[in-house]
Amino acid sequence: MRIVVQEAGFDAGRELTRFSARSGAGDPGIGAIVSFTGVVRDTAKGTLEVMQIEHYPGMTEAALTKIAQEAMTRWVLGDVLVIHRFGQLAPGDQIMMVATSSAHRKDAFEAAEYLMDYLKSRAPFWKKEILRDGAQWVGARDEDEDALGRWD
């Protein structure tokens, strides 16, 4: 299990290569590796200049670790990776990534979706969009909160 909270950028492809090397070569039972990469999206029709990501140092790492541990309890996983950035990001920048490995594709997919759903609504990150003509905090969406109901 690897949890990373950092301001610096990361290379999702290289991270997938590292994760796969640890998962596949090291464990002959691994048959499926799923990755998710989140990208800063300009929902403001070309006027987004910067996405500011604030977090709660200390609690962030603890919350992500707890979410990843819960995933490893629910599914039989080889490994879990979570990377999340904070600070100033530009449209198109990679903001976060999760990866899972398992014997079967169903477990790897479900665990990755679980990580994403909980990370969205239970890890202490907040986004502020700095637009060409103003700024606004990104509001939580009801459908993100509703998504958690799937895992009850």
Partner: protein, 81 residues
Amino acid sequence: MDVLYFAWVRERIGLPKERVETSAATVIALVEELRAREDRYGAAFADLSALRVAVDQELVDFDAPLAGAREVAFFPPMTGG
């Protein structure tokens, strides 16, 4: 006890962190004390349904006890990912 504010809660109150001397038994009692202080607290805590709270870095409800707590944080619903 350290009280932390994040995102627009931090912006409304005007600081990220402060030391608060309190004998409040619960989070909601602490909120009431802060609200009574200054308008900016009233503005930040106007709608508790739009807020989340963590005690010692664990998400809790507003009626959670504060006995032994070192750190309380207030913030809007999280928007990671």
